[in-house]
Amino acid sequence: MGLLARRNLFHDKVRFAVTLTGIVFALVLIIIQFGLFLGFTTTTSNNIDHSNADLWVVFHGVGYFDMGRNFSERKFYQVLSTPGVERAEKYMQAFARWKRPDGRVENVQVIGFHPGSGLGEPWNMVQGSVADLKQEDSVIVDELYREKLGVERIGDRIEIGDHRARVVGFTRGIRSFTTSPFIYAKFKNSLDYTNPESSEDSTAYILVKASAGITSQELQRRLRERLADVDIYTTAEFSRKTRFYWMFTTGAGLAVLTAALLGLVVGVAVVAQTIYAATMDHIREYGTLKAMGATNRYLYRVLIEQAVWSALLGYGLAMIVAHFIVQASEKGGAIILMPWSMSLGMLILAVVMCVAAALVSINKVTRIDPAMVFRG
């Protein structure tokens, strides 16, 4: 039966190409949609996930990363004096106006942190280093936004919030979910760029690293007992809250999620139709097999083997296509992520979709009209 399954698949090359195209199209569509969704959600919490902090202290009621609100740095010292805190750093996030060398203005999100602290630093440096930010009025931007921000190389000068600044480094792949790119600066400068009137004695966030031997949850409990008017989240909690906000509170997240689900529905429909049509093309042969005494189980096995072959070959091709698309997306505005778990999920989905579609058509075989077998 294995021979029949494979030969039926490869015999009509045009039909086989159409079948594979349908499966590849469906899988790539699903991968792109879910990859976009995943890229989108990951992008919203990128700075939190790469902060290297165990806990985030935020102004009470702040529900997500991009709405940081300043509070007194007295809290910072309270945190530092809490047993179980290995170190803590002030951290800033606020919007500012970026004036390009050619005079055009863009909105940016300024991230302020203490270079060298190991907390809240940018990652994936491709030019310059985080330590260069120790120089006064220096910033690091992502290479994705060179054109948008009007900078090409290290040393380019711009203005942020009416302060002159100089580009000292570039990162790769740190996207902003909003239209405002992230700009990294040392904490003091970030205050100058975002709100010159604000006191240096304030901060939007406090990043906390727990001492060895104490869990994040335990330290979170201790800090909650000592600090009022702030919320204390583990990094995972704050990441989740931020993702949830963008995904489900704003229409944008739901739109991406809906597109992903629609991609799944369309993909399943395409595969189902493709496999169903391929099976029905051979319906007369299955009828003949049945007349020859093949049991339904035998027919199921032929159909399933054929469907699994289709799924595996379609999956392999889809992965190649998806790989190129994912690579191309790294240079674009929207990242498409395809972690190994998604690749595995796609393999399972491909097999399940193809087998299910084949089994739908087997009803036609098991309820065969004998006249069809005998018709000339």
């Binding site: 039926n8 007349a291 020859m292 093949a294 004998p370 006249a371 077998v373």
Partner: protein, 258 residues
Amino acid sequence: MREINRASAIRAEGLSKIYREGATELRALQEVDLEVRAGELTLLMGPSGSGKTTLLSILGCILRASEGNLEILGEDVSALREKELPRIRREAIGFVFQGFNLFPALTAAENVALALDVRGVRGGDARQQGEELLAEVGLAEKARSFPADLSGGQKQRVAIARALAGNPPILLADEPTAALDWTSGRTVIELLQRLAREQGRAVVMVTHDPRVLSFGDRIIHLEDGRIVREEAGASKAIASLAFLEGLPGQGSIQAVGL
């Protein structure tokens, strides 16, 4: 060679088939009594819509009769459950179709091997038996040819070789010569006749072709779902004629159905 035994291979009593669609009822077969004997080539004839294919489907255990009893090789298949019928088809019956129904993606040898695979014969045994069956129908040299590369007559002979997989005592053929020129058709009918007479199989063949009448041992005529006439085939009639003509006092006797 199978020992020739004129025992009853198929015995049908009161077979009826009623198709219902809404309030409409179509009686495709009506109280058909029939005995198919081993070692004989039985021809089923009748106009379109007379119930030939329905009868063949029921005899082949593909379709169940609405009423009546059917015995295949002494086993009452009317009483069997649906899921037991494939076993009867595997063990007792080989089918030959008007349109050949070969698998276009498989070679001649693989088509035969597939029928053996359905019966659980695989690997070297299947290859050897497949080659023997193709040799039996005179197509050993075409074992590696695909159906598209065979003539109509060769395709039908491959189909017969496939029908012989598992050595079934009964062969059911649905107009196997209809799509063939007479030279090819003659080869096929002679092959079926040989399988009946020399190997003792019960061969039932639906046909419209008057040229094959002389090959049949029995001819059964159907009209409107009923058997209206049954007669000895030409070969037997001719044999009878010769016998009768040898008797003293007999004049000219016309064999019926010729």
